[in-house]
């Protein structure tokens, strides 16, 4: 096993953690709002094995492909209590990206403390935290993209006024194509909108 692969394996751990927390957050939000579908399916758990998708969670990231996913958490909006179905879907969908944002903020805070304390550039901890930050900003942003079946589309679903809905639904039908274009863009154009966005969001943080 060469160093490169070992490092990739190690960097895979925070990716796995972030994906798991993301899916767990969906399940937790749904559960708190009264839908125990995910809980009954054993998805209200931080165990990565219940959320993993063999190809999306393991194969691709370990092969070095900068793209991955976990199994979506099933959810029954009709069982929500106390909120309207639209709001419920919105909250449950938003929970995932929010969880990643929380991790990102936490790692940023730690990073900032570290960097202000000493000259630690090039130390492993900084590298790791920087990576966690990037991964979570990335997951948060990527999932907020309003293209079905990403979480962002459900958030838009909840917020969009009824007037715009027919148009929105027509766009939704193009979802998979748009998504594919977005993911393949970096290979074809040598420009990755997602990494571009990640870089810029990180730049905006109060270093």
């Amino acid at each position: 096993m060469d160093d490169d692969f070992l490092q990739r394996l190690m960097l895979f751990i925070p990716v796995l953690l972030s994906l798991t927390v993301h899916e767990w957050a969906h399940a937790y939000a749904a559960y708190k709002l009264g839908d125990d579908t995910a809980k009954l399916l054993g998805r209200l758990s931080l165990n990565p094995l219940v959320h993993m998708d063999p190809v999306g969670t393991f194969l691709l990231p370990l092969m070095g492909v900068p793209f991955g996913w976990a199994k979506p958490v099933p959810f029954n909006p009709l069982r929500l209590k106390g909120v309207s179905i639209r709001t419920g879907i919105l909250i449950v969908a938003a929970a995932g990206p929010i969880s990643n944002a929380v991790i990102a903020i936490a790692s940023f805070a730690t990073l900032k403390i570290l960097l202000n304390q000493a000259d630690v550039l090039g130390e492993g901890e900084v590298f790791l935290l920087m990576f966690v930050l990037q991964v979570n900003v990335g997951l948060c942003l990527f999932n907020l993209i309003p293209i079905p079946p990403l979480d962002g589309s459900k958030i838009v679903d909840g917020l969009i006024p009824d007037v715009a809905r027919p148009a929105w639904e027509r766009i939704c039908q193009l979802g998979p194509i748009l998504l594919m274009g977005l993911i393949l863009a970096p290979l074809l154009l040598h420009f990755s909108p997602i990494s571009w966005a990640i870089q810029h969001v990180i730049r905006l943080l109060p270093w």
């Binding site: 190690m10 165990n47 793209f67 199994k71 130390e123 590298f127 594919m180 290979l187 870089q199 270093w207």
Partner: protein, 497 residues
């Protein structure tokens, strides 16, 4: 260990491993830094030298070299200018997001990515209430080997059928003997017989005798909403069976797919025909030494496709015979072997009462009798023992019903025949099951209703099933106060409790 604790420990171990890996003085592993790191360094003005080769950027900071991957932005270049550093530009031979690799790798990566995205989208669709295509084409045949194992000893009667199946059993047990003689072995056996005559039971017994794998499938399980699924299920089933030979495939109610081809209107039964074709091919396609036998059951052999019945497929047809007296006695013996029989019970006698009943009927009878025995034992608080009376009572609802209808009819037929006589009409009094009673002259009666004219002149239609008691008051020869029954009609139903 609790799953929560397990998960917690799992993460502790993983995170510990990761932190250890990066924190332990492995500085070279950290030579490559995230691009964001470079940005902060540039922003803070801590970069002392920088080389850019495409998306691969080497920079010097705090006295050591680092490497980052990404695109320099305008703003970063401006910031570099501000601190007076001129970037060196190298050749961008490895201008790829997959590190320093050639065109082929990029191409491969593109292919993988395309595949991955398609897979992702497919998955998402399937997750949202879609159908798992892999599962759909799997045969639904269940392996029931070893469940409720029965042998020929558990099958009463059917002597001819057992004899015919004896060959099959011998073949599955010792195929060499048959192959040596160059005998083509029976591949398909069709069991024909009315419902409840023990076709499934017999097939199960064959599996029990040979110790072969036994797969049960109902022919209707091949049929699905999607075209082609049936055929692939047939293939899958035969593959599984061949893999685990010696084995027996039992296809119940084969008429669901084995119906004569071309009988559908306008060829609308393509899918079923396709399934049937696949079944035919699979039965032909066996190697001669493959020890797989197909047993099919149907109670409508007349509608089966001829190709299914030709030699080499279901060439052996076994008719489940009507049960003789001694067969029924055998079957009853089997079904009562676990039940305590009283000294007065003669199986022969009971068998004599049950003419025309099928194996399933007999099993039901034995069970019903045992049920009555248990109920009686509960009343008397004694050990339950089946008496002859229990069998008689178990048969009674059926018998009683027949008798009652006969009696009713005889009175009514008599009275309606009187209608043509000028001397008089039949006057009957009916007590109904709801407690009310009706009286009047019979207008007519058929199998289901009696129509009477009441004394006040109105007419009334009475369903026969509602009649609890019938008195013929006048006009018939049998003017008897014939008490038909005390609530005997409901006996069958009350016994269900």
């Amino acid at each position: 260990m609790k799953p929560k604790l397990q998960t917690f420990l799992f993460w502790i171990v993983l995170i510990g491993l990761m932190v250890f890996y990066f924190a332990s003085n492995r500085r070279d592993s950290a030579r490559i830094v995230p691009f964001g790191m470079l940005e902060t360094q540039v922003q803070r003005g801590e970069v002392s030298s920088i080389e850019i080769a495409g998306s691969r950027i080497r920079f010097r900071s705090h006295g050591s070299w680092f490497e980052a991957h990404g695109e320099m932005t305008e703003q970063m270049l401006l910031e570099l200018q501000d601190i007076g550093i001129e970037p060196k530009y190298g050749s961008s031979s490895s201008d790829s997001m997959f590190g320093d690799s050639g065109g082929i790798v990029t191409l491969a990566a593109t292919a993988i990515l395309v595949f991955a995205v398609l897979y992702f989208i497919f998955k998402m669709r399937a997750g949202a209430g879609g159908i798992d295509l892999i599962k759909l084409t799997k045969s639904r045949a269940q392996d029931v080997t070893g469940q409720n194992k029965i042998t020929f000893a558990d099958v009463g009667g059917c002597h001819e059928a057992k004899e015919s199946l004896g060959d099959v059993i011998d073949f599955l047990k010792t195929p060499q003997r048959w192959i040596k003689l160059g005998i083509r072995l029976p591949r398909g056996i069709l069991l024909e017989g009315p419902p409840g005559s023990g076709k499934t039971h017999l097939a199960r017994a064959v599996a029990g005798e040979t110790g072969a794998k036994f797969y049960v499938v109902a022919a209707s399980e091949f049929v699905e909403l999607f075209v082609g699924v049936g055929a692939s299920r047939v293939r899958d089933m035969f593959e599984t069976a061949a893999k685990n030979s010696p084995s027996i495939i039992f296809i119940d109610e084969i008429d669901a797919i084995g119906r004569r081809r071309g009988s559908g209107l306008g060829g609308s039964h393509d899918e079923r025909e396709q399934t049937l074709n696949q079944l035919l091919v699979c039965m032909d396609g066996f190697q001669h030494d493959t020890r797989v036998v197909v047993i099919a059951a149907t109670n409508r052999p007349a509608i089966l496709d001829k190709a299914l019945l030709r030699a080499g497929r279901f060439d052996r047809r076994i008719k489940m015979p009507a049960l003789t007296n001694s067969d029924r006695a055998d079957i009853l013996k089997i079904h009562t072997s676990q039940k305590p029989l009283g000294p007065d019970v003669s199986i022969q006698t009971v068998a004599g009462w049950t003419d025309g009943m099928s194996g399933a009927d007999l099993e039901c009878l034995a069970n019903e009798a045992a049920l009555l025995a248990v109920r009686r034992a509960r009343h008397e608080s004694s050990e339950p023992v089946l008496r002859l009376q229990d069998f008689r009572d178990a048969l009674k609802p059926r018998e009683e019903q027949t008798r009652l209808f006969d009696q009713l009819d005889s009175v009514l037929i008599e009275s309606t025949s009187q209608l043509s006589e000028p001397t008089g009409r039949a006057v009957i009094r009916l007590q109904l099951r709801d407690g009310s009673s009706v009286e009047g002259t019979v207008l007519w009666a058929d199998a289901v209703f009696i129509k009477i004219t009441r004394p006040d002149g109105s007419t009334l239609l009475v369903p026969k099933a509602q009649v609890l008691r019938l008195e013929a008051a006048a006009g018939t020869e049998s003017v008897t106060r014939d008490q038909i029954s005390e609530d005997r009609w409901s006996q069958g139903r009350a016994d269900m409790a």
